[in-house]
Symmetry: C2
DNA sequence: GTCTATAAAAGGATAGAC
DNA sequence: GTCTATCCTTTTATAGAC
């Protein structure tokens, strides 16, 4: 995985910036994190930082994108099921900075003309498709019955995961995985009934 | 309900400020809304605005608090059930500014030392209790069976509602009520099984 | 690739007059 | 209650040297 050639240093620095950005966000929140402080902590001037990421928004998008790629490699790709999804959530409890950034920045970006608006819309579509796929897998395996719309289940699963992350930020004792599991079981049961949604 | 006496004008102005704050947040998002613009739109100087609300955070807390009181009066108090909860959600689709503010500001406040941190923790506790109560009511009425922890259901319901609001901000065609209803039905079904959570 | 310097704006908050 | 005036801070972003 190691980078070679003339870009090795630049790539390493980029990685370092992404990591430090996360620390600052974890400590002060995304709204009150500043490029200046991230630059200072990474041993760069603010202008130096902007050389790597053209704007605050691009930086945060890059952080979240890197996370998604790591999660895909570690959890989704080897196991594109609900169990894999739960592992992603469980892993999130180890990176509170990322959860803080995701919750805060995606909320900020939900306004119409935000620079990251399309980024989050596209991300949501992707996650939704993955989630639908996991429901279909469960249907194929018999865990879920046929009498439920996978899209409805997927939307609710993703929504609950997002909402639980908000709750978890306020109270770290919340067991996100257990609650998602209970919900999944409920929807699975419902899907076997003849008159399900 | 009309205010009398020496505070009538001050109260009316407060109300006006709360409403205008909402418009600005709806248009630019909570992060990029400024006290200056809110003040300008309400025909006040920024210093004048600060006379009513000591800080940006207090203003936004007041907006959300007023909403909660309205919702309680209109929906919760007459009907503290899941149906009442759904009516609150359905009503939210008519006030996108409030949803934007809630999602964005609560995310910002989830950081430890934020001025509104305690406000949101307390609010979450309140909503959670209400939600638990609605599950217990459903158990008493037989819609829910006894084999499920009302707190687990309540947490997931609240989480899904929050998460669906995020989704809805990005895509207004999402039917939050239908999805919450499907989820509720799933948990209800599960609760009748002997081996539920 | 990194810095210095600086722009240019906006932010929240306060003091004190009326 | 409201304004003017002002403060100080902070922000992102750019220009141009090295």
């Amino acid at each position: 995985m190691k980078q070679r050639g003339p870009y090795a240093k630049g790539t390493a620095k980029r990685e370092e910036i992404l990591a430090v950005a996360l620390e600052v966000v974890a400590a002060k929140g995304c709204r009150n994190a500043s490029n200046r402080e991230i630059a200072r902590r990474v041993g760069l001037s603010q202008a130096g930082l902007m050389h790597y990421f053209g704007s605050r928004e691009e930086l945060y998008m890059a952080v979240l994108d890197a996370r998604d790629h790591r999660d895909a490699t570690a959890y989704w790709d080897p196991d594109p099921s609900f169990a894999g999804f739960l592992r992603v959530i469980e892993n999130n409890t180890r990176v509170p900075g990322l959860v803080q950034l995701y919750v805060e920045f995606s909320a900020e970006a939900s306004i119409g003309r935000h620079p990251a608006h399309d980024f989050f819309r596209a991300r949501y579509e992707r996650v939704r498709e993955l989630s639908i796929r996991s429901v279909r897998m469960a249907q194929a395996g018999g865990e879920f019955g046929p009498n439920i719309d996978p899209a409805v289940v997927a939307d609710v699963i993703v929504a609950a995961a997002d909402g639980l992350q908000q709750q978890w930020l306020l109270d770290r004792s919340i067991d996100m995985v257990a609650r998602l599991q209970a919900m999944w079981d409920g929807m699975a049961t419902l899907s076997h009934l003849p008159d399900a949604a």
